[in-house]
C-alpha cells in the first residue's frame, strides 16, 4: 500500500499521467515560440500562445538545485529519510521537481547529469524520478 501523497489527476493533467504509465515523459511544446514548458498548461507561459502540442521529452537533464531532506515531509516519508528532492532542468529547457534516486545522498551535486527513472507507485500513477546518468 503506497501511503505517500498521490497526484490528484484532473482533465488537464490526465494525458501527462497517462503517458507516464506507459513510461513516457511528455512536455507541452509551443509551436509559436518553440519553447517547452512544465507543468502542462493551456497557454504557453513564455509567449501566451495557445498553439501547444505534446512532445516526448528525451528524459535527460541536469540538476539545477537540490536539497537533502533530513526531516521527512510527514510520516509517509519517514522511512526514506534522508532523501533527495531536486529541481531538474530538462535538456528541452523546462524545469521540474523530482526525487534523485541514489544510495549516497552525499554524492549529489548541482550540474550533475541525470536521466529519468520511472517508478510505478500504484496501478495508475508512475512517478518520473531521476538518477545519475
Amino acid at each position: 500500500m503506497y501511503e505517500k501523497p498521490l497526484p490528484v489527476v484532473d482533465p488537464e493533467s490526465a494525458p501527462y499521467w497517462a503517458a507516464l504509465k506507459e513510461r513516457r515523459l511528455i512536455l507541452k511544446h509551443c509551436r509559436d515560440c518553440g519553447r517547452h514548458h512544465f507543468y502542462p498548461r493551456a497557454l504557453c507561459p513564455h509567449c501566451h500562445s495557445d498553439a501547444l502540442e505534446w512532445s516526448d521529452a528525451r528524459g535527460t537533464g541536469s540538476i539545477y538545485s537540490y536539497t537533502v531532506a533530513r526531516r521527512p515531509a510527514g510520516p509517509a516519508f519517514k522511512a526514506d529519510a534522508p532523501y533527495v528532492v531536486a529541481v531538474v532542468e530538462l535538456d528541452e529547457g523546462a524545469r521540474m521537481m523530482t526525487n534523485i534516486v541514489t544510495d549516497d545522498v552525499e554524492s549529489v551535486r548541482i550540474g550533475q547529469r541525470v536521466v529519468v527513472a520511472f517508478e510505478a507507485v500504484t496501478d495508475e500513477i508512475t512517478l518520473p524520478k531521476f538518477k545519475a546518468a
Binding site: 501523497p5 538545485s65 533530513r70 515531509a73
Partner: protein, 390 residues
C-alpha cells in the same frame, strides 16, 4: 485642499510568553484585542473604522473563507473599503499599500489592518505539505519538507552560483538574536553563536534548524488614516507611507524564475524606491522578512542594498547586529522575536516604533526613514513599504 496623504497612526501586538498568548483565546479575539490597542494608540474609535484589511490561515470552513466579512461582523463595523488579499506573509505590506491607495483616493478615512494566529497554542501547524491538487500535483508527491525545502533549494543554488557559505547565513541568525536580547518581548533572547547555528541539526541541506524562524502565536494591528485627519485629532507622531510596491512570481518552487534571485522583491523594491524618491543608502533602519536566513540574504540583494551574489559578504562580521553599520530586524525578527505563520505585520509594527523613537535599548539613533519588506509563500511574493517621519 492638498493631496490626501496616507499615514500610520496606530500599532499594537499581542504580548506572548514562551511564544504563546498569555491566556487561551480565539483567533478573532486575538485580532480584536490588537485592533482595540492599535486604535487606542491612534486615538481613534472603532466606530470610525471604514476600511478593513486582513489575511490569515483561519476562517469559517467553506468556500472562500471570507475573512474580512467574518471579521467585520465580529468587530461590529461595516467597512466601505475592504481587502482580503492573501499572498502569504507579505500580505500586510500589500495591505498598507492598498490602504494607502484607498485613503489617498478618498475610498476610506480610517483603515485597520489585522492579523492573528494561535498556531503554537493550538499545535495546528501543518507540515505535511499541501494537498496534491492543481499545480501542487507536480510538487507534493516528492516529499519536499515544507516550508523549509523550497528555501533550501534557493540557498543551495545561491551557494553554487556565488560561493555563499553556511557561516555567512549564520551571521544573520546571530545578529538577529542580538537584537532580540535587547527586546523584552522577544521569545528567544539567550546567547547564540555562529558555531551554535552550524552545530544545530541539518533539516534540509544546506539549512540548519537555527537558520529557520520560530513557530509561535501572535497578533498585530496597524491603523492608518490621512495626514490631515491625523493633524485634526492632534496625533503627535504620524508615520508617512512614502512608497510601496509589490509583485509575485510563482507558488510551486520549481516555477521560481531564478532560485538564486528574488525577482518579486526586485520588482516591489524598484517601485517603492521610485515612488518614495529615495535610494537604498537613504534608509536608516531595515525590517525584512526572515522566515529563513537565506530569505534575508536574497532580499538584501534584490532591494539593492548590495550587489547580486554579494549578500554573504555584506552580512559578514555582524554588520546587521546592534552597533553594526546596517541595523536590521531590530525586534529580533521571525528568527528570535516571534513567527506566527504570517509574520509581515510585525515588520511594520517594529518600523513604526523605531520611527517614533519608542524602542528603548534597541532604538536606532535618529531613525527617520525605514524600509519594510515582506516575503510570502515560498519566496513567491514580495511587498515593500518605505516609511518616514516626515
Amino acid at each position: 485642499m492638498g493631496k490626501r496623504e496616507a499615514v500610520i497612526v496606530g500599532v499594537a501586538d499581542l504580548p506572548l510568553k514562551d511564544g504563546k498568548v498569555t491566556a487561551p483565546m480565539s483567533v478573532l479575539q486575538a485580532q480584536a484585542l490588537c485592533a482595540r490597542d492599535a486604535l487606542a494608540d491612534a486615538g481613534i474609535a472603532m466606530r470610525e473604522v471604514d476600511g478593513l484589511l486582513t489575511a490569515g490561515m483561519w476562517g469559517v470552513p467553506g468556500p472562500g473563507q471570507l475573512a474580512t466579512v467574518t471579521l467585520s461582523e465580529y468587530l461590529g463595523i461595516a467597512p466601505r473599503f475592504v481587502d482580503g488579499t492573501n499572498i502569504g506573509g507579505s500580505a500586510f505590506e500589500a495591505h498598507v499599500a492598498h490602504a494607502a491607495t484607498a485613503l489617498e483616493a478618498g475610498r476610506c478615512e480610517v483603515a485597520l489592518v489585522t492579523y492573528g494566529s494561535l498556531q503554537r497554542s493550538e499545535a495546528s501547524r501543518n507540515l505535511a505539505g499541501r494537498p496534491s491538487v492543481l499545480t501542487m500535483q507536480y510538487e507534493t508527491p516528492w516529499g519536499m519538507p515544507t516550508p523549509v525545502g523550497g528555501y533550501a533549494l534557493a540557498a543551495m543554488r545561491h551557494m553554487h552560483e556565488h560561493g555563499t557559505t553556511s557561516q555567512q547565513l549564520a551571521e544573520i541568525a546571530v545578529a538577529t538574536r542580538q537584537w532580540a536580547a535587547l527586546n523584552p518581548a522577544a521569545t528567544m533572547r539567550g546567547p547564540l553563536s555562529i558555531d551554535d547555528v552550524l552545530a544545530s541539526p541539518m533539516i534540509s541541506d544546506p539549512l540548519h534548524l537555527l537558520d529557520a524562524c520560530l513557530v509561535t502565536d501572535g497578533g498585530g494591528a496597524v491603523v492608518m488614516t490621512t495626514a490631515e485627519h491625523a493633524r485634526a485629532i492632534g496625533h503627535r507622531k504620524p508615520v508617512h507611507v512614502r512608497g510601496y510596491g509589490e509583485a509575485h512570481t510563482h507558488w510551486t518552487i520549481a516555477a521560481m524564475p531564478d532560485l538564486a534571485r528574488l525577482t518579486a522583491a526586485e520588482i516591489a523594491g524598484r517601485e517603492a524606491f521610485a515612488m518614495a524618491g529615495v535610494r537604498p543608502d537613504g534608509i536608516d533602519v531595515v525590517e525584512v522578512y526572515d522566515s529563513f536566513t537565506i530569505t534575508v540574504l536574497l532580499t538584501l540583494e534584490a532591494l539593492g542594498f548590495c550587489k547580486r551574489g554579494e549578500g554573504g559578504a555584506f552580512v559578514a562580521n555582524q554588520r546587521t547586529a546592534p552597533g553594526g553599520a546596517f541595523p536590521m530586524n531590530t525586534n529580533g525578527g521571525g528568527l528570535s522575536y516571534a513567527h506566527p505563520g504570517m509574520y509581515g505585520i510585525f515588520l511594520l509594527i517594529e518600523a513604526v516604533r523605531q520611527l517614533r523613537g519608542e524602542c528603548g535599548p534597541r532604538q536606532v539613533q535618529d531613525a527617520a526613514t525605514a524600509l519594510v519588506h515582506g516575503t510570502g509563500g515560498t519566496l513567491s511574493s514580495g511587498a515593500t513599504c518605505i516609511l518616514s517621519t516626515h
